[in-house]
Symmetry: C2
Amino acid sequence: NVYSVLKSELLHDPAFQFTDDSRQWVERMLDYNVPGGKLNRGLSVIDSYKYLKEGKELTEDEVFLACVLGWCIEWVLLQNTFPVLIEPVLQAYFLVLDDIMDNSHTRRGQLCWFRVPKVGLIAANDGVLLRNHIPRMLKNHFREKPYYVDLLDLFNEVEFQTASGQMIDLITTLEGEKDLSKYTMPLHHRIVQYKTAYYSFYLPVACALLMSGENLDKHIDVKNILIEMGTYFQVQDDYLDCFGDPEVIGKIGTDIEDFKCSWVVVKALELSNEEQKKLLHENYGKVDPANVAKVKAIYKDLDLQGVFAEYESKSYEKLIKFIEAHPSKAVQAVLKSFLGKIYKRLK
Amino acid sequence: NVYSVLKSELLHDPAFQFTDDSRQWVERMLDYNVPGGKLNRGLSVIDSYKYLKEGKELTEDEVFLACVLGWCIEWVLLQNTFPVLIEPVLQAYFLVLDDIMDNSHTRRGQLCWFRVPKVGLIAANDGVLLRNHIPRMLKNHFREKPYYVDLLDLFNEVEFQTASGQMIDLITTLEGEKDLSKYTMPLHHRIVQYKTAYYSFYLPVACALLMSGENLDKHIDVKNILIEMGTYFQVQDDYLDCFGDPEVIGKIGTDIEDFKCSWVVVKALELSNEEQKKLLHENYGKVDPANVAKVKAIYKDLDLQGVFAEYESKSYEKLIKFIEAHPSKAVQAVLKSFLGKIYKRLK
Ligand SMILES: [Mg+2]
Ligand SMILES: [Mg+2]
Ligand SMILES: [Mg+2]
Ligand SMILES: [Mg+2]
Ligand SMILES: [Mg+2]
Ligand SMILES: [Mg+2]
């Protein structure tokens, strides 16, 4: 179990002397957050590397190293979703605070203000700690590889992009400034590209390329195709949130209620007339089912399901064309395998 | 102005397409937090490098690069103090929340709970963003240097240590679990070593050593001396918080009120009898001046000023002995210059 190995190395890193409390703190944070993932990205490093080796059997060591990189990618994801994951924890604290405030007044209330911010502090520090784990894992397992420095540069660049994408997302959807007119296709594309596509599509393939001894500067086209594909993947995600079968996707979408900058609402804004636009502004981002129903009615009037089907087949054709223009059959195989896994997905 | 150059490069990093809002967000966050520092660390990279070059004049380029590293160290400091710096921002949000709650009830209160956590999320993301800036700056200016990979490893290791030290500090001084019996000399030493000494004493010298073409693995003794010195520096800081002249140190210390794991209280606990210990437990970490006065009275009874003076001269002697045992006169000069700056400091 590669995760256990990595976790144990982090908890016994010779560069730091843990106290029992702090070791337990990190272990809990990791166990609570990391292993739940689907590990798609981890597997996709191995898959991609296999294609690049063109059928040659992987050694045990190669499989292990590809898994380590897969887990490093999960760590990037974790930084990305960390804010959302800790929300329940923050909520719990705020509820405790609420209780204290209801029962007493200024004096104890004062004490409270003093206490509460620590939660934000600890959250901020946990985020930085996670960011720091990735280079530790890379150093433990890749320090002697010729591509070590490129691997560090790659993770540094993609993590910077991911955190920056997350930032745009957080500040545009900041509560209290609900303004639908900010939601445009270029903004949606930018958030998706940086927040999702780089780390979940480009990063696994780039890792596999480095393991195969390739120079990433010579694979800008591969990067561009994967970013395109990642964008398409996120558009599907947005579409399924609203039009997917909850039984199949395993949850009931709430992007409308949550005022998300979803491809669906951005497309609807593009296509709607003044009256429809007005209704969208009035009803988007509210929890009341009556508001949600009005938004969905507009989506129906605009035939967004048809618009999406069109988008989906056009994206597919474009991606296939780009992929088939690539000189290497092995790289084509990697990219087609990615595309095959997501094309017309229902969940 | 090196800071302006670095900031501008970060705000126009070709790896990310900023929106106007997001560029402004980062610029404000940096301007608000970064340039205020005393830049001791930045200057100490240049100073150390000068000694290592044994009198040879530095080129303009060398001065610039040493400054870049100095600023990178300020960025590490910023991650470290970031939680504290954003506390006023968090507080402001909580106060707004408080108002809303006082004026209305459940319905608007509910909305609030939904809103508030975003502050924690943004704080966590800003922290990660800062962590990501450092490798961007290093790549922009050191990518072609033979010591680039060692520089990345150095910053990665020290940042991991700093964030981990910060974590122990946050979780041991977590409000609501005020328990003085946790405060021991080994714990104090561990917090100080990891949270402060690595990045503010070891890191600048290690940067200068790398710029001079040295292998850090051969300078473990230099590291150990600097960690010792950083610890001594923090003990002074703790001492001055309580016994320093507020006019000279420029602030009124509140470590007692803040329930800090300070060298002074840890030493007091070590030296006190049962009755004094009981009084410390009862009075430490309270805002009321009457409580603070009782703590200070015990410090006086235990002659902690004398105990500190003894500690200070012993530390100095020990450090000088270690430094003079070092084979290189240039390295000795670096270390003595550091020590000279802090020995018997009053602020
Ligand atoms: Mg209430
Ligand atoms: Mg979604
Ligand atoms: Mg929905
Ligand atoms: Mg109140
Ligand atoms: Mg202090
Ligand atoms: Mg004091």
